[in-house]
């Protein structure tokens, strides 16, 4: 493997580009509790980047820092080559960072289609009167957005539940709808918070396949948090390992797996 400022080529031959997002010396505290301690890492164009660690390691906090739900006390967040000022979560989303949540945040009262359509809100540029009256460019725009959404719905194989209210769906499908909504925004960076949590083996396999396909088909840059070590090692190009808010490892799955500190802190404890 070759690692340079311009990017590198993965083991399976995919070309990874330059740095999309860079976290520099991030420290996040809640009162006296240090959730994240002086962590730096980068995420590159087109790669699948995993953040792993035992419970309470600060993984979710890190994802929340990236998506703007938490503002770190120290450190800088760089996105596409410029330093990001403190932002609210919706502004981060408007910048092209989409996310899913560990315990699913969907619009339960809406249908699957409507849920996914909300991902396109940022692409609706016609004014409110045109939209209400269905006049002018509004119709063309709506059709365009619907096409983009239908493509994603097809891709994630949820056509059969398009019109179903989300509240009636089983857990695994809800996770997939959430992914669809995030994808509908055509994000420059996609954040997945434990996409496989609470799933059975079959659902996990499906979700892994979708994540790989999304990355492959749309070239989406993905950062994900995951508990399941096996899944992470198969999926990701590079892995950050956290423990008690510190970074204890960073590299390819192979490198991380052989890192003694990681083995002690995580692998050695939870696996034989």
């Amino acid at each position: 493997m070759l690692d340079s400022a311009e990017g590198y080529v993965t083991e399976d031959g995919r070309k990874i580009g330059g740095v999309v997002m860079e976290m520099k010396n991030i420290t996040l505290r809640f009162g006296g509790v240090v959730a994240i301690k002086d962590i730096s890492f980068d995420i590159r164009e087109g790669e699948i980047r995993a953040i792993i660690g035992p419970n309470g390691a600060g993984k979710s906090s890190m994802l929340n820092v990236i998506s703007g739900f938490y503002v770190p006390q120290e450190g800088e967040v760089w996105f596409h080559g410029s330093k990001r000022p403190p932002m609210r979560p919706y502004e981060v989303a408007q910048q092209g960072i989409a996310r899913t949540f560990q315990n699913i945040a969907l619009f339960e009262g809406m249908s699957v289609l409507d849920n996914v359509m909300t991902g396109r809100l940022g692409y609706m540029k016609t004014n409110i009167f045109q939209q209400a009256l269905w006049k002018g460019k509004a119709e063309a725009e709506e059709v365009e957005n619907r096409e983009a959404v239908e493509k994603i719905i097809d891709f994630l194989e949820i056509q059969h539940i398009r019109k179903t209210p989300v509240s009636r769906l089983p857990y695994g499908l809800k996770k997939r709808v959430e992914l669809a909504r995030a994808l509908a925004a055509e994000p420059r960076l996609l954040l997945l918070d434990e996409p496989m949590a609470g799933m059975n083996v079959e659902e996990k396999e499906d979700m892994s396949r979708f994540i790989l396909d999304v990355n492959d088909e749309f070239g989406t840059t993905i950062a994900l948090i995951e508990h399941d070590m096996g899944v992470v090692m198969d999926l990701s190009d590079r892995v950050v390992v956290m423990d008690y808010g510190r970074k204890i490892g960073d590299g390819t799955p192979h490198e991380v797996r052989n890192n003694q500190e990681v083995i002690d802190a995580y692998l050695g404890v939870s696996h034989d």
Binding site: S67, F69, R88, P89, Y90, E91, A93, Q94, A98, R99, T100, F101, A105, L106, F107, E108, G109, M110, D114, M117, T118, G119, L121, G122, M124, I128, Q131, A132, L133, W134, R181, A182, A185
Partner: protein
């Protein structure tokens, strides 16, 4: 046709018209409740405030005249001009948007994530504040509001029913106008919430805050917008009621009549608010007509509430409300 039946028909029609006005007020409640889960007790006072502001602007009244005169010993009461109704309505709408911003900035923003009951209490406080504020701003005397809406008996209906039944129905022109405006308003609100980006965002915020943030929706903006729309509905209701019965403080009490309407129609349904309003309007008029004389009259004061009570027992979510399902 027997006279009683003809009278009943007239009562029925008048009930429909009255119901439209109830529905107008109920609509404002539903809007805010749907978008933020807040039951806005101040909706009725907002209608009052809007109507008072409209009258004040039209008559060129100096706001806070009493306060200014008491402080500086001056004697200013009016600017000495009068503003055309349409311009005054636009200015009033501006004031309502400003009010929406202030409510969000100074009250609701500090209560994000609190229990619904706390938000409800905050709106009660808001109601009393706004009532006093309106008093201070425009004075407490009863005012007449005339924005040029037609009033009085509709002669066409009177004549044509006279030709058919030999008895002319009394239908107020204002009620007909109110019905048309309410229908337009509902159509506009439905188009807004179903087809526009802002409407979709509004529904999204109502459903899940976190999810809404993650797709790039600013909660703050949506809430200001929702309160502005509710302010607009309050303005329309204020104009209708104000024209009908004068702009006075009892106007804020019409909010209480909206409560049974909401219990019938469901707190989350726009069509529910309309149908609920009509049922209450027709129900109380027909009840007064048929049963009223037997029990000494004045049934209109309590009929709506009893009806709501019965609904609460048998169908607490209302006719159109979302089903309440508890999973164990």
């Amino acid at each position: 046709m027997p006279d009683q039946l003809i009278f009943a028909m007239e009562v029925f029609l008048n009930g429909l018209m009255a119901g439209v006005l109830y529905a107008l007020v109920a609509l404002g409640f539903v809007l805010i409740y749907k978008a933020s889960g807040i039951f806005n007790y101040a909706q009725g006072v907002m209608a009052l405030f809007a109507a008072m502001t409209l009258v004040g602007v039209m008559n060129g009244q100096v706001p806070f005249a009493h306060l200014i005169n008491a402080t500086f010993g001056t004697h200013v009461y009016t600017f000495g001009w009068s503003v055309p109704a349409l311009v005054a309505i636009i200015v009033t709408m501006g004031v309502m948007v400003l009010l929406a911003w202030a409510v969000q900035r100074f009250v609701m923003r500090h209560l994000v994530g609190q229990e619904p009951i706390i938000l409800f209490m905050a709106t009660i406080g808001l109601a009393y504040f706004l009532e006093g504020f309106a008093d201070l701003m425009w004075g407490s005397e009863i005012k007449t509001l005339n924005v040029g809406l037609p009033q009085g008996i509709n002669l066409w209906i009177d004549e044509s029913t006279f030709n058919i039944f030999g008895y002319g129905f009394f239908i107020d022109n204002l009620d007909i106008v109110a019905t048309v405006i309410a229908a337009l308003l509902v159509a506009a609100l439905v188009a807004f919430s179903q087809y526009t980006k802002q409407g979709r965002a509004m529904r999204a915020v109502a459903d899940d805050h976190q999810a809404a943030l993650s797709v790039g929706i600013s909660l703050n903006f949506i809430w200001i917008m929702v309160w502005s729309v509710a302010g607009f509905v309050a303005l329309v209701a204020g104009i209708m009621w104000g024209t009908k019965s004068g702009v006075q403080f009892s106007l804020s009490l019409i909010a209480l009549k909206a409560l049974p309407v909401l219990m019938l129609g469901g707190f989350t349904s726009i069509p529910g608010a309309i149908v609920g309003g009509l049922i209450i309007g027709v129900g109380e008029k027909l009840f007064e007509f048929s049963i009223g004389p037997l029990v000494g009259g004045a049934t209109e004061n309590w009929f709506a509430y009893v009806l709501a009570l019965i609904f609460l027992v048998f169908r607490p979510q209302g006719l159109f409300g979302e089903k309440i399902i508890e999973r164990v």
